[in-house]
């Protein structure tokens, strides 16, 4: 058996075995809880920091996250225009804890977005990035347990999120021309 499908069934078999686990998976997997939590953390990060240098790092992290998300969405749209992978519930016998999304299973768009958060903050504020990684990983597992993604969809989404956020940071000499004026504008408003 394809190891991707085998791993999917191993994780999906946890669904419907324990009401608390199902509750937790549903709490994590829905469109609102974790994605909003990550966005709130990023919003708070903009105002965090005990000194100017910390604030500057945090604000750069926030802007790299936003840049990464924008790029990731472009990449995923290009993927979806050229490749369609059916969802697990369309081809396998699954225990579904979620509604039936209609877009391609590969790559996972929400996971890509969440790993943009992780990758953008990782180089600038490791303690916050670890929390983001924890929630993103929990969300990713929940997507498989809930029967809406194969593990490879998750890995593909995570790689896209990390790469599309890492690239603007790697090319900071160019992207800083966009990022620094935004921070300076925020400073003029006393908000950065």
């Amino acid at each position: 058996m394809n190891p991707d499908i085998a791993l999917f069934h191993f994780l999906n078999d946890f669904a419907d075995t324990s009401p608390p686990l199902d509750w937790l998976a549903r709490a994590l997997v829905n469109d609102y809880a974790v994605s909003t939590l990550l966005a709130l953390i990023i919003g708070g990060l903009w105002f965090s920091g005990q000194n100017a240098e910390e604030r500057w790092r945090n604000q750069r992290a926030v802007l790299f996250v936003l840049l990464g998300i924008a790029l990731a969405n472009v990449v995923i749209k290009l993927f979806q225009m050229n490749y369609f992978r059916p969802r697990p519930f369309a081809t396998e016998t699954v225990k579904l804890l979620f509604y039936r999304p209609s877009v391609s299973s590969f790559p996972s768009e929400p996971v890509a977005t969440m790993f943009c958060f992780v990758a953008g903050v990782w180089s600038f504020n490791r303690p916050v990035a670890r929390w983001l990684l924890f929630f993103s990983t929990a969300f990713a597992f929940a997507r498989v347990i809930a029967g809406v993604h194969y593990p490879s969809d998750i890995v593909g989404g995570a790689i896209i999120g990390i790469v599309t956020t890492w690239l603007p940071m790697h090319w900071a000499r160019y992207t800083d021309r966009l990022i620094h004026p935004i921070i300076r504008f925020g400073q003029r408003l006393n908000l950065a």
């Binding site: 469109d31 609102y32 909003t36 919003g43 105002f47 920091g49 977005t113 400073q187 006393n190």
Partner: protein, 338 residues
Amino acid sequence: MVIGLLNFGEGLLALNYLIFCTVASLGVLQFVAGRARLVGLMVLPAQWSRWLGAVVVVSAYVWFFSVQPDLFIPGLAGGEFFTLFAIGFLLALALALAFGVIPNRVLPRPAFPQPFKREETVLNNGLRAELWLPRGALPPLVFAFRESETDSLDVLSGVLVAGGAAVLLVDESLTDQALEFVEKNAGRFHPTRRYAIGVGRGADRALQLSEANGVRGALALGPLGRDENAQRGLRWLRETDYLTAWSMNGKKKSIPQYLPSKNATIIFGDEDTLLPPAMARELFPNALMVAGARHFTLAAMPATIRLALDLFELRAAPVTTSERVLPRKRVMQGEMPD
């Protein structure tokens, strides 16, 4: 056009999500403001702000998931999420900034010793100077340079008047006009006992004035030293509310170049965020530090008041107790370290 591409679906989902984002963002801002001591964003004092923030975030989650049970059907998509979250966060920011104004602008100001007489004079461009006079003839005169018409020196001025000095309270930009005014009214003040005090850019003016003949001593409270230290930024919200910060650095002003003379005393708060202690020591190696004071609370600290009375050779007025004149409880702890 972009908004037209978004599909917020039917029913109350979008509205509920917007409310959820706004309230949760307000909670996050309170939590972060408490940790980073951004007083301009706080509804409550720092130690309570973090708890308030955490409670508000949890409450927002509980509310949203209880009023919105149909979360497992297709709903909002990425673009709608981003738009609603951005609007909610900006609304929360506006609310937090508005709440931050309340302690400074809405709550009643503390009582402090009142002058025997208060005169107002228009000096320049409609900006006013206030002359606070004590009882008695020929009082010593203190030039008090405040930051852009804020009340940062009111408490200290009240104490100085109660101690027997006349205080000329002026905006820091009106130094020359203040000197002219005193020259014209020289007969009303003690001929030799003239002093200067100031906060922030006003402190730079006081230091500049200490070079001039006739000023016996100057007390500079948190001088900024150079223009870039007066530039805008989030650090202003660690000192004061948004409207005050905006009005203080709304006009482009420069800091005069000067060398502090021997008759000047420079003090800083060790919690000053406009000019942090390390930078203050670098710029002013002989500066004293007042424990627990920020830029705009420094003038009302007991240590500052004692130093000003001593430096300006004034008696401590019996009506003045530090408990009565201090504006906030937390600044009462402030003492000058050895």
